[in-house]
């Protein structure tokens, strides 16, 4: 957006102190926004996170118990107790953990604090999928064929699946984040799928009720970011294609979506705004859609929180979504109207995770022994990493987000590819090899991909071809590394003889 079009930013901080009820890169992200707005940031940490970056960057930090989430980051009473004692006036939940827990939003409000996100009742109405679908249909937004009511037992599920027609998706009626999500190709698979999904749903959301919808094949996962203030203004900011997923976990996101033209973008934005209005939405939210090969879309669900991939939209629009969340939560009106939003260029995000891409993305743990985050033009890094950090299996495997912006998709792609190539996270297996491969893979480069991409493109048939010179360098280091491990003394003199040899070949 051009400064001219933008109403002056209020210079008073929206809050005096905000409790950041999260950890990792998103806690760092929120703390940065607080710092920029002049808000005192209050972090919390479990026993596993005492040395975490979010603890060190925050103004205050309080321990909230053992590593197990239920005893720390999910312990509502501890969080609210800290917020009170640290004299906070608001709580930002980040994503995951309690960010979509309506009861937490309520108890924050009941404690006399502001919850940075939509109110509990809005979360409830949108969190229950059949209700959200009804709401969408009522305002004329297309939804996939599916059950009108939560499905509570296997027989009911059988009847509904027959009516809808296989293949179908099983989803937890009470929650999102891919948990309980399962594709069912035929009647024979239903019973097993039902047991697993409802089991997961029970564990994750304490609610076994499921929801069944028609599975749309070769669809793209396209979501629309919107934001609403407490005065009823709702604005959509642009879409993100999040089709590069495995087990319904996103690995790469981009905006604009290669499959979305201006007309479709308008329609998706309009649909998101209508749903938000119908729900009486407040703060930032995301409406998820499936877009099929012919460009027809159907509404999936609303994520009533900040998304992991929000930086993609920030780079394209030039807006700071977390700052806006905080200002809106404090009751400030949106500082711009729909017509003021200017999208510039394209952005692509890679989620670098502690998962071994080389062996089916099995979760990995270890200590970060060497770290190099990328820099330079168009590159943004949101990270909680530092050398010496121990990565455990206690939490989400997301390590770092590498995001690149360019004047168009070609430039954004060239930059994210370059940035990923510069990135080094040594000490544990990561997903970086996956990202490096996909960013150069012809179908992705051409924008030809849907949610089946990872299944059909990873692992690659051929192993990456290093040229002879690179192979020789690798071989020599393999030998040096072996020697260093056995005899702990320098093998390659930092200078001297060998570099003399080099200079000769350089100068002759």
């Amino acid at each position: 957006m051009e400064p001219g079009r933008r109403r002056p930013v209020a210079l008073t901080p929206p809050f005096s102190a905000v409790l950041v009820a999260n950890r990792g890169e998103i806690a760092v992200r929120v703390i940065r926004a607080c710092r920029e707005l002049g808000i005192r940031s209050v972090a919390v940490y479990s026993d596993a996170d005492r040395d975490a970056l979010h603890v060190r960057l925050a103004d205050e930090a309080y321990p909230i118990g053992p590593a197990a989430p239920r005893e720390s980051y999910l312990a509502m009473s501890k969080l609210i107790d800290v917020a009170r004692r640290a004299k906070c006036d608001a709580v930002h939940p980040g994503y995951g953990f309690l960010s979509e827990n309506a009861d937490f939003a309520d108890s924050v409000r009941d404690a006399g604090l502001v919850f940075v996100g939509p109110p509990g009742d809005v979360q409830r109405s949108l969190g229950e999928k059949t209700q959200a679908r009804r709401m969408a249909r009522d305002v004329g937004v297309p939804v996939a064929e599916g059950t009108a009511e939560p499905v509570r037992d296997l027989d009911h599920a059988r009847r509904e699946a027959e009516r809808i027609g296989y293949p179908v998706m099983l989803k937890a009626a009470g929650g999102g984040g891919g948990k309980g999500l399962r594709a069912v190709a035929s009647a024979s698979e239903l019973e097993a799928a039902w047991r697993m999904s409802s089991g997961e749903a029970a564990g994750a959301f304490g609610n076994t009720a499921m929801f069944i919808e028609k599975l749309i094949e070769h669809a793209r996962h396209v979501e629309m970011q919107f934001i609403a203030d407490t005065q009823g203004a709702v604005v959509w900011l642009g879409e993100r294609d999040c089709s590069i997923q495995r087990r319904h976990q996103k690995l790469i996101e981009e905006s604009p979506a290669p499959s979305v033209d201006d007309a479709l973008r308008e329609r998706l934005g309009d649909a998101a705004v209508r749903i938000a209005r119908a729900a009486g939405y407040q703060n930032a939210g995301t409406a998820e859609f499936l877009v099929d090969a012919r460009g027809a879309f159907s509404f999936l669900e609303v994520n009533t929180r900040l998304q992991v991939e929000h930086p993609v939209t920030e780079l394209v629009t030039g807006l700071d979504l977390v700052a806006l969340q905080l200002r809106i939560a404090a009751g400030e009106p949106l500082p711009f109207a729909q017509g003021d939003v200017r999208r510039r260029g394209a952005a692509i995000e890679c989620r670098v995770t502690a998962e071994d891409a080389q062996s089916g993305f099995v979760p990995a743990t270890g200590r970060v022994a060497l770290l190099r985050e990328p820099g330079g033009p168009g590159v943004r890094v949101d990270s909680g990493l530092f050398e010496g950090l121990m990565i455990t299996s206690d939490y989400d495997p997301l390590l770092m987000k590498v995001i690149a912006h360019g004047a168009d998709r070609t430039e954004a792609l060239a930059r994210i590819r370059r940035a990923v190539q510069e990135t080094i996270v040594a000490g544990l297996p990561t997903s970086l090899a996956f990202h490096a491969h996909v960013l150069g893979e012809p179908d992705f480069v051409a924008g030809r991909y849907d949610t089946s991409y990872v299944a059909t493109h990873w692992p690659p048939r051929a192993t990456v071809a290093l040229d002879e010179s690179a192979v020789a360098a690798a071989a020599v280091v393999a030998v040096l590394a072996l020697r260093t491990r056995s005899a702990r003394r320098p093998v390659a003199p930092p200078d001297g003889a060998w570099s003399r040899a080099g200079r000769e070949d350089g100068l002759r």
């Binding site: 060497l370 297996p429 490096a436 040229d467 002879e468 690179a470 071989a475 020599v476």
Partner: protein, 165 residues
């Protein structure tokens, strides 16, 4: 000391000679390197090419080579022998292959010649540098696959040596 090395699906025989020179699959490769992080990262130059190689994980050994991840392994030959109980993998026959694409400048031997171990067999010009291809063992040249002036691909078979006792 001689090592059996694998990089991705490539298998190489690496001998540390001196001064950053290595004998890789019977070809002298001059490297110039500095350790940029103790036991973790090296900057390796080979005939001008700049390679940054980082040890991502040691066990199993995984390397990042100029931003490309690859598995690797190194075993000193005696250990290898012990582990495989097989001794030198190639037995009495030595195949000489081009370690990198380039131009075969000179061939110093003819088929049937018996050469001493370490004797120069051919000169390969690659990456703006001349590489002497040496005989890995004392043996008879039973086959010359290419002649001087030929452009060869990396990995192309150049000659075959039969070990002479």
């Amino acid at each position: 000391m001689i090592y059996e090395v694998s990089v991705g699906d490539r298998r190489l025989r690496v001998e540390v000679v001196t001064d950053g020179r290595f004998l890789i699959d019977d070809v002298v490769v001059a490297t110039e390197m500095v350790e940029t992080r103790r036991g973790r990262q090296w900057s390796v130059r080979i005939a001008g090419r700049s390679h940054e190689v980082t040890v991502l994980t040691s066990d199993p050994l995984r390397l990042l080579v100029n931003g490309t991840e690859t598995t690797a392994s190194a075993l000193d030959e005696r250990a290898a022998a012990a582990s495989t109980g097989a001794g030198s993998a190639r037995g009495g026959r030595h195949e000489l292959r081009a370690p990198m694409p380039g131009l075969l400048k000179t061939v110093h031997v003819a088929e049937g010649d018996v050469v001493e171990s370490g004797a120069p067999l051919m000169t390969l010009e690659a990456m703006k540098m001349e590489n002497e291809l040496l005989a890995p063992v004392r043996g008879r040249v039973v086959r010359l696959a290419v002649g001087a002036g030929t452009k060869v691909e990396g990995g192309a078979m150049l000659a075959v040596l039969e070990v002479e006792e």
